[in-house]
Each structure stands twice: as C-alpha cells, then as structure tokens.
C-alpha cells in the first residue's frame, strides 16, 4: 500500500514521473526507490496492525500518510525543477523520493518503538 511501480489500487500517487526523455530512457521504478518503498510499507503495515481495533487513530494515520505522499511528490518536483526535460530527471527525481522515503520510514519506526506512557505515542505496543 502506498507503494510504487505496481498496479495496486491502493497506490495513491504515481511515482513514475512522465518525462520528455529521449527514446531509450525509461520511466521504470529504480531499485533504490522500490527498496525504500518496501521498507516504508513494512513499517506502515506494522503500525496499522497495532491500530486494528482503533478505527479513529487508523484514520488519522492514513490521513498523515496521504498528506506525506502529496508532500513528497511536490517536494521532489521542486527539488528537481532545474532538470526538467532532461534525461537525468527520472534519476534525480527517484533519488529524491528515496531520500524522503527513508526519512519517513525512520520517523514511523519511532512510533513502533515508543512505550505506552510516553508522550506522542499513538500506537503503543
């Protein structure tokens, strides 16, 4: 879910960016981004599992993750703006996606590690 490169109906936004690349360049998902996406999806699933009896908090998690995806895509479009139309656009864009995805994974992992009594721990063990 919230993954990348697949035809899953759960995919919320495309991570393949249409380019005006030369013939021979590819829009195919890069391995680094897929690996980062898989790691993020794994952590996200773990949190979702903990919240399976808490529909209200699950809804907030979904809202936060959707908002993050929108932010990720807008940020990487901005970060890559000086490469627009160039053949390196997909590579640099995917590099940005990977970087932001790794940061998001790290932040979500903190939610898996926090304890019940802590502040800001919405999905305790």
């Amino acid at each position: 879910m919230f993954g990348h490169g697949s035809a899953s109906p759960c995919r919320l936004s495309p991570t393949n960016v249409p380019t005006r690349a030369r013939t021979g360049s590819t829009n195919a998902p890069r391995p680094t981004t897929k690996k980062a996406d898989d790691a993020l999806n794994g952590v996200y699933r773990d949190i979702t599992r903990r919240l399976k009896d808490d529909a209200a908090t699950t809804k907030l998690l979904v809202g936060a993750q959707k908002a993050w995806i929108q932010f990720r895509d807008a940020e990487c479009t901005f970060a890559n703006s000086d490469n627009a139309g160039g053949s390196i656009y997909p590579m640099v864009y995917n590099g940005c996606l990977t970087r932001l995805t790794k940061a998001r994974t790290h932040d979500l992992q903190l939610y898996l590690k926090c304890s019940d009594d802590a502040l800001g721990c919405p999905a305790p063990k």
Partner: protein, 132 residues
Amino acid sequence: MRRTGILIAACLGFAPPALALDCPGETQAAMDQCADAAYRKADDALNKEYQEITRRLKDDTATAKLLVSAQKAWIAFRDAECAFSSSANVGGTIYPMVYSYCLERVTSARVKELGVYLKCAEGDLGCPVPGE
C-alpha cells in the same frame, strides 16, 4: 503533569527528537509555554529560510511556484502528522504540550531540508535554488 513526568517518559525508552526539548516546569502551563516557544522558534527559522529561497527565485517564477506548492503540501502534512502523533493524548491536560512537541519536531526537520537548498552548489543535482 509534573516535571518528572517527562523524565520518566524518556527513561522508558521513548526518545523521539521531540523529547530532546528541555522544558522543565513546575506547572503544566509553564511546560506548555516552553514547548510552544520552542515550536515558534523553529517556525521563525523556517520562515526566514523560506523568504530567502523566495528572494533567490525572484527571476524564476516557475520554480518559485513549485516551492509554494511544496510548502503548502508540507503544511498539510505537518498538521495531519501532529494530529496523528498526539491522538493518544487528546482530551488530556498534556495535549497542547504534546502537540507543540510534534510541531517543533516536524518543523525542525523542514528547517534542515530548506537549509540544504540554501547551501547546495550550482551544478549539484537536485539543487533548485541559486547560490547567494
């Protein structure tokens, strides 16, 4: 919640960046104020960076427009994330403090990201902001 509450929470092994805030206080109001002040400090730093990036992009309206979109999307993410992050404390007396902690954490991360754009060198891949 007393001052020791924060220490206890930290000792239980939860050490998110938010609890790096030093907000001791004898009253909840004092701790709330401290956490809020920390968030506002980060927000001020963010606004300064944002204004500087905007200034450097004054001759590049296309990129400036992308910056605006990214920042709007970030604001929506910040708010959604902090609603999730502090959801377990809703209705409790510590809720405002927890929410401020989250805002400070997410905003500080954004300050770092924008800081990179201000320092990146021309010719770097993914460097949309010209140098000074």
